[in-house]
Symmetry: C2
Subunit: 443 residues, 2 copies
């Protein structure tokens, strides 16, 4: 008998791994950014393991780092998400495919159309990671010197979402009758012209593509600000979030699900999936050694730049092999600064070790045997810290193969993760209802 | 021994066919707009026949027609090009994949990135059909009530092209050294920041994707105005054009190639491919019967609306079975109006017949046996009317299978069309050089 609650697993990836040193790890594929064969193999492996979804990290600029740091990492370039996920759609059958698209730097007609098209191509497996794009370097790639202010970005995002979902509802599900004898291809009473004129957007419609297979592709969000959490509670089907420990995860979970209840939405209709960086070993010590080895591949130039950014303070003048001195308050994000200082203290790290950890990956990690990792994931599920995880593999292909070969079977043995896909669409995998068409059925 | 000059063949398609009555033709797939399996089969068949490229028609709006006409046709909706072509990239190996993207309603950073990504995914088979988008309904889907004026659109297009190609050159071809021992992923001296600030566009760069496999994806244009022909002569690798007969084709060919010579470009470095609607029969009469049968599937409501649009005059009050009366001069495009009136006179068509012809397809057609069609294509090639054709199949799958099974072998027998791909990329198929990187090699 399976548990009543089941884990949901997404894979949050870059082609070479999210960890900036991973391209130098033994067995890595340093050329994976532009080698589709590797991506195809990864995603087909995830599908065999019944993952809910594959999600490719994305940015609209080369990452904002000093070039002496940037040149040490594989993360500056890779495939564009719509093209990559569409290519993967035709070599997979069941796994969900989630792409990031920005409400600040793209047009709702394009976004609605591309996700609808990906949803048709994949027969109902598309997801939209709706981001407002906080990176000021992106603004300069799109004709703007000044980046839009945070709350304004969120107000535009809310309107953008209404327009995109309204465009998805341009056609009733049964609009296309294709009656060859009568010569009637569609029923014009089942076509809706949106004619939206709002504060930020003016979009006439209708969309030139049939309603998506899922009604609406799955909408994912990742904001953790007040505006971000409220937008998610109002509109998201899933939230990808960074939570550094179970206690923080539980607070976030209760917060967002509580907001949903206040809005009259069912708690189950949004899945909360924190990112988890998972390093599997045959023993706990072996897993710890792998993580330590991985961090040695973060070049010091790259790590110290990342650390300085996280602290909002140039720490390169200090002795790399000494402890982190007191750092004054700065304009850097307070949560990132405090998290890094706390990490240095808790693990008594030198500046070099801290730089390599932060430059590699320093969020929530699970390091241990398959049983230990399954224990931890189950605890998050049972204690309502999450509905599953967005798993990050530390190095590829080994980290992915370890997770799929060792952790997934342990989760399945415990009855908290599927052994086979039960449904066909990403909404099915996440246990989400198919939205009604607001113009033809109400919602 | 093959001829020195070879035909180049693109397939210009909609999923159900470009002909608005084709969804009712015996054996058609009326559901092909959203059935990827059909598209996959079509493109794999074209690849077996060694076609240079597959090109999907596109619009950024539901076509501007009265709904009583629109509802009679399959052409209102279909897949979005980037997602479709990317999905096709992973189920094909050699055929070129050409997508339309608008310089008026999209951002150069997105366009550069998506085509670069498609080029990497397909290992060098991407092509960009650069359009300025003349449809005013598209403007209303992108927040603009007033459409940009024609010459202004072309000036923006020229700057847009410079920005996109500049972004493609962000990285030298050998920028990514991936030296795992030294921890150096790329050579920063091989990264160029565009920092473009022009009249219409401001784009910093660099592009967050490696230089395309082809250097630059193939750039296709279709404009036939003075500004369009000049832009093509300056920038295009191929031109898709509508030419109603060989004499017109020869004038266009000489005009564009002449402009190239004046600009110091080699004539061979741009391929001119007029659209040709090809109906193959075992006899000429059978082919004519097929074309006539196809036109009967154009519903009168749809045909009369198309005819009225083409003439710029509502002709629905006239007797459908009578001849076309004198039509006053109007605001409609003069060339389209004159072409239609000439067609009615030359073939003594009733209004109904004319409506069904114009509503279906009324441009250049080749109707006959495989030998007759090959004769006509060879004549265009030899007399410098074109470098090949953008073939339109009247109905699917039969029209495509007829062309591939009957006309292609005849062209191959004559030594004017390849029997096997010689190169790997779309540039190879078209016989085009790979552009040097303007920032690292000059051009």
């Amino acid at each position: 008998m399976p548990h009543s609650r089941q884990l949901h697993l997404g894979a949050f990836m870059r082609p070479v791994s999210l960890h900036t040193g991973a391209w130098r790890f033994p067995g890595a594929y340093p050329d994976a950014n532009f080698n589709f064969k590797h991506l195809k193999r990864f995603v087909q492996t995830l599908e065999k393991a019944c993952f809910d979804a594959f999600f490719m990290a994305d940015h609209l600029a080369v990452l904002n780092m000093p070039v002496d740091a940037l040149k040490r990492s594989h993360t500056a370039t890779s495939f564009e998400p719509f093209t990559l996920l569409s290519a993967l759609a035709s070599v997979t059958e069941r796994i969900g495919l989630i792409a990031t698209a920005s409400t600040t730097f793209d047009e709702p007609y394009h976004i609605a159309r591309r996700f609808a098209s990906l949803d048709h191509l994949s027969e109902g497996r598309a997801g939209w990671n709706l981001v407002t794009t906080s990176n000021p370097d992106a603004a300069r790639n799109f004709g703007r010197e000044e980046h839009m202010e945070h709350d304004e970005r969120y107000r535009r995002a809310r309107e953008f979402y209404d327009v995109v979902t309204g465009l998805w509802d341009s056609w009733a599900d049964d609009a296309f009758v294709r009656d060859t004898d009568a010569g009637l291809f569609f029923d014009p009473s089942k076509l809706h012209v949106l004619d939206h004129k709002g504060k930020y957007l003016s979009v006439r419609g209708p969309l030139n593509i049939a309603r998506p297979v899922q009604g609406w592709p799955v909408v994912v969000q990742a904001g953790s600000s007040e505006a971000g959490k409220q937008l998610a509670a109002e509109t998201a089907d899933a939230v990808f979030t960074a939570q550094s420990n179970l206690a923080a995860g539980k607070r976030f979970y209760a917060d967002v699900k509580g907001r949903m209840e206040q809005l009259g939405r069912e708690r189950d209709h949004l899945k909360i999936l924190p990112g988890a960086f998972v390093v599997v070993g045959d023993t706990r010590d072996q897993a710890l050694e792998k993580r330590a080895l991985l961090d040695t591949f973060v070049h010091y130039e790259s790590g110290i730049a990342s650390l300085s950014i996280a602290l909002g303070h140039d720490v390169s003048p200090f002795d790399p092999d000494g402890p982190l001195p007191e750092i004054p308050e700065t304009n850097a994000s307070r949560s990132s600064r405090e998290r890094v200082i706390e990490l240095a203290r808790a693990e008594r790290l030198t500046i070099r070790e801290l730089a390599q950890r932060v430059g590699g990956y320093s969020g929530l990690q699970m390091v241990g045997t398959a049983v230990e990792i399954a224990d931890e994931m189950e605890q998050w599920l049972v204690e309502e810290g999450s509905d599953g995880f967005n798993v990050m593999f530390p190095y590829l292909p080994e980290g992915l193969d370890d997770f799929v070969g060792k952790v997934v079977p342990e989760l399945q043995r415990r009855g908290i993760f599927r052994r086979a896909y039960e449904g066909a669409t990403l909404r099915d995998h996440f246990g989400l209802p198919r939205p009604g068409n607001r113009f033809f059925e109400g919602r």
